[in-house]
Assembly symmetry: C2
Homo-oligomer: 394 residues x 2
């Protein structure tokens, strides 16, 4: 009789640690970190300051500048893949990291669409992606402005082609003199974009996630409501017709193709009676997608991580019929967390930043079935937290 033998299986492969690096340590990195913790991914951030929003949640925090080669090399030394919290990076340095063997997603060739509006507008026009009428001027003169204003029949909007965000770098001039002042100021920092002023029905956004293998998911179209050029509120559903939503999604996917996006791409769109046009793109998770944390089967943060780490993308179906996100921007006095949490269904996201008037401190999301109740509670939550933003009347 043969004795029984107990075989202990030999471990042939232990999966490598999933070590993600993030350039920047703001609220987007913080929310990536929350998703990373759930998935068992170690996140190291390159923070400009130890008090940055993501430092408290990151597995490791390196303090250094996002455009400093030594800081970036230190980050690359402890991670397997690098992604970005913001676009204010040195594209050549990103390329250098990738060349030395640490993949960076999104690649610099994608990021340039977000950080250089001149490049973005020219490429999109070339690929038949709808954008407002524009001209790009390196050294703007009043003759240039006049000529374009005559073509449009109105004073153009003036935009800095580099470095603007949250309404900074955009002037909705009402006179040519005002437009010229803005153009001269912006011209000191790079090219100037003059654009037609559209009669907006509203603004919407579409998020697209693209995996390393080319797989792709989109989230439902959302309505975005601005206050002084800053995103105040995001609403699902968007209120657009099914045809308009299809068109918005189609444009966003086309943008993702042209941009060569990997990870989450946010496409902000103008909604007009004449059609839908691209406003801005961000090659990373975006404020217009914060609602997906509670509102969608897979959040933009989790899908961004999945994408840049080469994991399968998650489904994006909405989890409620109505979802509203409202930003919390520091008002004159600090807010009251207890008062916000006393409101049923209010999900508070506090980025852990020190309070300062005008600073984006967090956001609030409410999901539910009754659109009015959802919106009222989301705004009440944000107001309890002391938001300086004003609810519009729409």
């Amino acid at each position: 009789m043969t004795g029984s033998v107990s075989v202990v299986p030999k471990v042939t492969e232990v999966p490598p640690p999933r070590a993600l690096g993030v350039v920047g340590a703001g609220q987007l990195a913080r929310m990536m970190g929350e998703a990373a913790s759930e998935l068992g991914i170690e996140m190291t951030v390159l923070a400009s300051d130890p008090s940055d929003a993501a430092a408290s949640i990151a597995t490791r925090t390196l303090v250094g500048a996002a455009d400093d080669p030594h800081s970036l090399a230190a980050l690359a030394a402890v991670v397997e893949v690098i992604t970005l919290d913001h676009e204010l990076v040195d594209l050549d340095e990103l390329d250098a990291l990738a060349e030395r063997g640490t993949p960076v997603w999104p690649a610099s060739s994608s990021v340039i669409f977000a950080s250089r509006k001149d490049h973005q507008r020219r490429e999109f026009q070339r690929r038949d992606i709808p954008v407002p009428h524009f001209v790009i001027l390196e050294e703007p003169t009043i003759d240039d402005l006049e000529a374009f204003a005559t073509t449009l029949g109105h004073v153009p909007v003036v935009k800095a082609a580099r470095g603007g965000y949250d309404g900074r770098g955009v002037v909705m001039a009402t006179t040519l003199a005002e437009a010229m002042d803005a153009a001269l100021e912006f011209a000191t920092r790079g090219p100037v974009l003059l654009e037609e002023r559209l009669a907006l029905l509203g603004e919407v956004a579409v998020l697209v996630a693209t995996g390393l293998d080319g797989s792709r998911v989109t989230w439902p179209v959302v309505r975005t409501v601005q206050s002084d050029g800053m995103c105040a509120e995001v609403r699902f559903p968007s209120g657009l017709s099914a045809t308009e939503e299809q068109r918005a999604t189609q444009i966003a996917v086309q943008v993702a193709d042209v941009v060569g996006a990997i990870g989450v791409l946010a496409v902000e769109l103008f909604w007009t009676a004449e059609g839908i046009l691209v406003n801005e793109v961000a090659t990373r998770p975006h404020n217009s997608g914060h609602w997906t944390i509670e509102g969608s089967l897979t959040s933009q943060f989790e899908n961004h991580l999945r994408a840049v780490l080469g994991l399968p993308l998650g489904a994006t179906e909405p989890l409620a019929t109505h979802v509203v996100m409202v930003n919390v921007v520091g008002s004159a006095t600090p807010g009251d967390l207890a008062a916000a949490l006393a409101i049923t269904g209010v999900h508070v996201h506090d980025y852990g930043k020190s309070w300062r008037p005008g600073r984006k401190l967090g956001h609030v999301t409410v999901a539910g079935t009754d659109p009015e109740s959802v919106r009222v509670r989301a705004w009440a939550g944000a107001e309890a937290l002391g938001t300086a933003l004003e609810k519009d009347r729409t």
Copy 2:
């Protein structure tokens, strides 16, 4: 004409930083940390090892023993409120912290119900909370066992009154000799509990959260499925009748009153044809409540933080008609995260622990409308991650 004066409001009160300390740094502390990050709460953990599950997400990690006065004092020095990741603590040291001014929730007078089964069974019996028939023996003899077995009409279950968890410290003896061996072994570590062996229809659990102001919420009753004494699966809804669910919830609330619980209390219950009886209690978030992260409007982790920090409790209504959680316990070989994430709706929670057969490494949750699909996907997700647990046939 009087000139206009711009008044800058004076800041009269800046809310104190919300600094929470956690004794222990396992997966419960890690999931508390994910909730803490969302709420802008700084969490410091007292870890026994720098590689503990919560160390990577905590704002600060102190390394020291949970029963070491110096380590506890170091934790108390940097936080405002202390809570617990586990009950393997020195109750006198907790009292000392509270006396020196750092509130500890749950209090030692509550924790004792979880860490000392003899105390718990005696107190519950005294307060008419249904428990199995039991005797407590300090120095068990075969005569004691025989006498109790005769009363019951069967061989009793033998339990260690102190320090058991996940099936450890429980022997389902089939002969008196076996029961005696277990009793003698357990007696070296403290009192021994002999209990009747119930004919179970199943096991269920109820979570209760109690605020500092006495406010209280309960989550829906869930069915818990064990495998070798370890929780394998948790299912919402429980499958009990409405009357039975009411009874289970009533017992759990009564337990919370007797225990004087602050924060989350988990009550594990035996479901029998003769009624519902208390099995175990845990004075902290619990495996039977992990489903609430995706399955309920406010998770057990967020409500635990809200409670111990004196914030209002959140509503606990379920977000789907069916939710299933399956634990991932290390099998012979490491699992495949990509395979798990390829299954629609699978929410992976990886505790970031190094893989080892038999070790609780994470869990998977799926929420949806079709009970069979939800359960199949949850198990498939856990199996892709390499769980050693076996799905029962029920």
